[in-house]
Amino acid sequence: MSRASPNNLTATKTNTKSLARGEHALSAWAHHHRRCFKDALWRLLKRPISAWATIVTIAIVLALPGFIMTLATQIKQIGGMWASENGQMNVYLIPSAQTDQIQSFQTWLNHQSVVRDSRLITPQEGLHELAKRLNIDSLTDIQPNPLPSVIVVHLDRLTGDTVESLQHQIRTNPLVDNISEGGEWIKRLQEISLFFDRLSWWLLGLFGLTVIFVIGNTLRLELQERREELSLMALIGGTSRYMLRPLLYDGAITGLLGGMLASVIIYGLLTALAAPINNLATNYGAHITVITPLLMTALLGIIGLILGWFSAQIIGRNFIKKSVKL
């Protein structure tokens, strides 16, 4: 055995680099992505029962927060529409309020974004209305008139926050003696909607974790079966990214299909519940527009895809690190 120091590895490294720079490398990369995609679909078809069991589980897990989220949107819509149709607030002014002060206050009110319009009821008009409503004509002769000037404010598409903010601004005005709590019901409705909204996001977070575990468990079983293949990949120079790629496709496609199926379940539930929901909405003078299935499918599909991809990243990296000699 003679001593020698040839440096072939350096030379071949340069070759690999130049290859990687070329368009062949790009086309090979794209080819590998296409192949991973096809293989992932093929694996789904090859084991339809286990694959679809996972997909259906994901769909059910994602359907619940999705359904609650849709309900929250409907409640918001009902609140907004009802506010638009009927929402009003009565602002009672102090007896010493002057006409020009009242007019400028009313102008300010009309400029608020959540105010559709307002109407001033003077003490005389108020007394006349009261006398008419009570059917007591002599009521108009009361002196001095005990009623204050009142501005009836019609609200437009409110949320709980904007009602509260407007009420606070009105209350702090020195011309205002008191206001009726006309927007209180909207606030309650919005609070219910907010509760459902938050609940759905929490559930989505919680169930999202469940999806990650469900997909992760399926992938772990698959990885056990492919352990030898992965070891071989490592032996012939496969990078961890290369080995991980097929798994990412598996996770993402499973998640995507699960999310899309979840949207079908939600749409089915909404269709089944459409009649009672619409009756309820009609009672509040509102009309429900159900979120379009296409949008819902896309949204849940993307959520499923991201969760599946994320799960594959965690499980795959961990498995390759622990089980494959890199």
Binding site: M1, S2, R3, A4, S5, P6, N7, N8, L9, T10, T12, K13, T16, L19, A20, H24, A25, S27, A28, W29, H31, H32, E228, E229, S231, L232, M233, A234, L235, I236, G237, G238, T239, Y242, K325, L326
Partner: protein, 222 residues
């Protein structure tokens, strides 16, 4: 090309797989690695593509100290090394062509290059006509030839073989060894671990002899 300098490998149970092994194989040489079962041949071979690491000493491949290499550099090193195992390590659910193409796909070759190179490699081992066959349809000898084609398709600088003829009859074994000699003839550095002394003696090739993890002696070519 392959340099071991005082290499020892101690396992977690305290047993030494290798103990103070030093040798140097220059570029383009063919060398046999012999010794009884458990003498450390496989441990030594696994260190060359950095599948195992010494507990002390240095392994240098092409002048590069493997212990100073980072993990992300190993794939590039391994693409320069073809490995043939006794138990094939083939993917049984794929066709012959796909198995041989694996190292090229991993290295990022385009599909035209892959086809050209795989067909050339299969032609070299006499399996071009069986490229569409599934691995499980092949005999043991054919599977080993697929294994060799896969090890060589990437045109590696080093070819390692661990008991490549362990399961084969003498005639097939000779055929396989002749193929290794052919690759050595075109400049590939070849290191073959085998305990088939009868077969090894028919080749004028230097031998590194291991005994219980230690380098017993080096026999120069005769």
């Amino acid at each position: 090309m392959i340099e071991f300098d005082g290499v020892s490998r101690r396992f977690s149970n305290g047993h030494f797989g290798l103990q103070d092994v030093s040798f140097h194989i220059p570029e383009g040489r063919m060398v046999f690695l012999t010794g009884h079962s458990g003498s450390g041949k496989s441990t030594l071979l696994r260190m060359i593509p950095a599948l195992d690491h010494p507990t002390s000493g240095q392994v240098r491949i092409g002048g590069h100290d493997l212990q100073k290499m980072r993990h992300h550099q190993y794939p590039k090193l391994r693409r320069q090394i073809g490995v043939v195992f006794q138990d094939h390590h083939l993917l049984p659910d794929r066709r012959v062509f796909d198995n041989v193409a694996l190292p090229l796909q991993v290295s990022g070759f385009g599909s035209k290059d892959i086809r050209r190179r795989v067909e050339a490699a299969l032609d070299k081992v006499g399996l071009l006509a069986r490229q569409r066959a599934l691995i499980e349809e092949l005999s043991g000898g054919e599977q080993q030839r697929v294994n060799i084609a896969r090890a060589l398709v990437n045109r590696p600088k080093i070819l390692l073989a661990d008991e490549p003829t362990g399961n084969l009859d003498p005639e097939l074994s000779r055929d396989i060894f002749n193929q290794f000699s052919d690759f050595h003839a075109v400049g590939v550095t070849v290191l073959i671990a085998s305990h088939d002394l009868h077969l090894l003696k028919t080749y004028a090739v230097p031998r590194i002899v291991l005994n219980q993890g230690r380098l017993s002696h080096i026999e120069e070519a005769f």
